[in-house]
């Protein structure tokens, strides 16, 4: 089970809106850009920030899952796509799909889509690592106070119910119910009465919670903010970098530099010097949080300033 850990890292010290803006730019860029170099720039940036935030171990743990998904992408694209011109392998004729051909263009497309997929997943991994759920909920509570309360109540109830389920199981075991022997079906069936107990007792408790929040004047006026989110120079730096990166992504799309023609033959990577400048500019902007996070870990003087 994932448990958020408070760490002394740069991104956890930023305003949650700043980190969310950076991650949103990365995810939006990853799904709208299809140029291999642009996607690579996005991936390297987010991966570098993840490593600087101490998330390398998590990323490696999730690696097996990424590679299964990437293998599926290669398989699906190879099976359904006959658009490439450079045939590497002629396969059999399958009913409904025609002749299966493995083309260079399809393999490159699947690989680039794999980079897109890993970029999106790495961004969410960084989200799970750096966005404190309490602070994020508090941020949304300004705009959605009732929904934030609903989410907070649900979130606090899940571990509580888990403990309750465990206690009910132990009580049942003391009375002679066996959950660990017998067929799989009987083991599941023996557990079902526990769910009934859990349902009845937790719904009973929910009425107490309702009375309790009413006693605390729920709904009598606007809610108070529990977290004071301060903005520091680091927030301005990352927010500005994210906004300018978003502008460069939009510019690349408008001018057609962010796109790439895979079929029938692979397009030329760099079409003009301006495209290269925009690509490098985007890369530099997205790498700024990495340098800030790296400097934060290395120099105390920088930590105090940002």
């Amino acid at each position: 089970m994932l448990v958020f850990q408070v760490k002394d890292i740069f991104l956890q010290n930023l305003h949650p809106a700043t980190t969310l803006a950076y991650l949103a730019v990365i995810v939006a860029g990853a799904v709208v850009l299809s140029h291999p170099l642009f996607l690579l720039a996005l991936f390297i940036s987010i991966f570098a920030v993840l490593v600087a935030s101490g998330g390398m171990e998590n990323w490696l743990q999730g690696g097996r899952f990424f590679f299964v998904l990437m293998a599926m992408l290669v398989l699906i694209n190879t099976l359904v796509n006959n658009l490439g011109a450079t045939v590497l392998l002629w396969g059999p004729v399958l009913p409904g799909l025609g002749r299966i051909t493995v083309t260079l263009e399809t393999l490159v497309f699947a690989l680039i889509m794999g980079i897109r997929l890993i970029t999106v997943f790495t961004a969410f991994m960084l989200y799970n690592l750096t966005i404190n759920p309490d602070r994020a909920l508090s941020l949304f509570a300004r705009f959605f106070p009732r929904s934030a309360l609903l989410m907070a109540l649900t979130t606090k109830t899940i571990p509580y119910l888990s403990q309750k389920l465990q206690s009910a199981g132990e009580i049942a075991q003391c009375r002679g119910v066996n959950f660990h022997t017998g067929s799989r079906f009987s083991r599941i069936r023996n557990r079902l009465p526990l769910l009934r107990v859990l349902f009845m007792s937790s719904l009973e408790d929910s009425f107490n919670i309702g009375e309790s929040i009413q006693a605390r004047a729920y709904g009598s006026g606007p809610r108070t903010n529990y977290f004071q989110h301060s903005r520091r120079p680091g927030d301005i730096l990352v927010m500005a970098a994210s906004l300018f990166a978003l502008l460069l992504i939009a510019l690349s799309l408008i001018l057609g530099w962010g796109g790439f023609a895979f079929y029938p033959r692979l397009d030329v990577m760099i079409v003009s010097m301006h495209q290269l400048v925009v690509l490098l500019g985007l890369f530099a902007l997205l790498m700024l949080p990495f340098f800030a996070a790296w400097g934060w870990n290395k120099w105390n003087c920088l930590r105090w300033k940002i």
Binding site: M1, L2, V3, V27, A28, V31, V32, L33, S34, L73, L75, I76, N77, V80, N81, L83, G96, F109, M113, R116, V120, F121, F124, N128, P133, F144, R146, S147, L149, L150, M151, L153, T154, T155, T157, I158, Y160, L161, S162, L165, I188, R189, L192, L195, R196, L198, F199, M200, S202, L203, D205, S206, F207, I209, G210, E211, I213, Q214, Y218, G219
Partner: protein, 222 residues
């Protein structure tokens, strides 16, 4: 072109979810109603956590369907989508979160729309619906994967995308049907009893007759 579809679909799903939660913000909500929705969402979300080791075998969809049937389509949507978001705080948020919120929300709506007025619970119809939701849920989640990472966007490519996860979808469908057969009717009785407890009687009706009013209806939980 497909990449624009991907971003557009993501924005549309997030906007639809925001619209539902905004609607929930704007109406008067009784504290007991908030607590009951949160507890039901927690129960549905909790179902995912202990069963996470067996992929797709979890009672969440079944619980959302039954809650939707008893409390109505809108609370059903809120229970399903809140369960998805809150349980992902423990399992990890990802690009799947908005789609799971939408899929479980829609399961809640469908549970709320089917046989709403019936005094008895149509167990076998709901078992069929729960079984079908095992697949529909997988298709909704695969949709974004398909429009973002696969080209060209054809029926064949969508079928191929679905086929890669058909085993998980089948396991999900079996789990839904199994939970519905074994626990469905009993759970409906429990939930109906709690729904009745959210009902109050006012004594200031005409000629002093007691006038039953469903608090849940008055407050919109219907």
């Amino acid at each position: 072109m497909s990449t624009y579809l991907s971003l557009t679909s993501l924005i549309l799903v997030i906007s639809a979810l925001a619209a539902v939660y905004l609607w929930y913000e704007r109406r008067h909500t009784a504290p007991a109603e908030v607590a009951v929705i949160a507890t039901l969402a927690a129960l549905a979300g909790l179902g995912r956590v202990p069963f996470a080791a067996i992929p797709s075998f979890q009672p969440t969809t079944f619980l959302v369907l039954v809650c939707g049937h008893v409390f109505g389509p809108v609370p059903g949507f809120l229970i399903g989508s809140t369960a998805a978001f809150a349980s992902n705080l423990f399992l990890g948020q990802g690009p799947w979160t908005p789609w799971q919120m939408l899929a479980w929300g829609l399961a809640g709506i469908s549970g709320g729309l089917l046989f709403r007025g019936n005094a008895f619970f149509p167990r076998w119809t709901f078992t069929g619906v729960a079984f079908a939701w095992g697949f529909i849920f997988g298709w909704i989640l695969n949709f974004w994967h398909w429009i973002t990472f696969v080209y060209p966007l054809t029926i064949q490519s969508f079928t191929a995308t679905i086929l890669t996860g058909i085993g998980f979808d089948f396991m999900h469908a079996i789990a839904n049907a199994l939970f519905m057969v074994l626990l469905g009717p009993e759970l409906v009785i429990i939930l109906r009893r709690f729904k009745r407890r959210l009902t109050f009687y006012s004594l200031n009706g005409k000629n002093g007759e007691s006038q039953k009013r469903a608090a849940v209806q008055k407050e919109g939980l219907s």
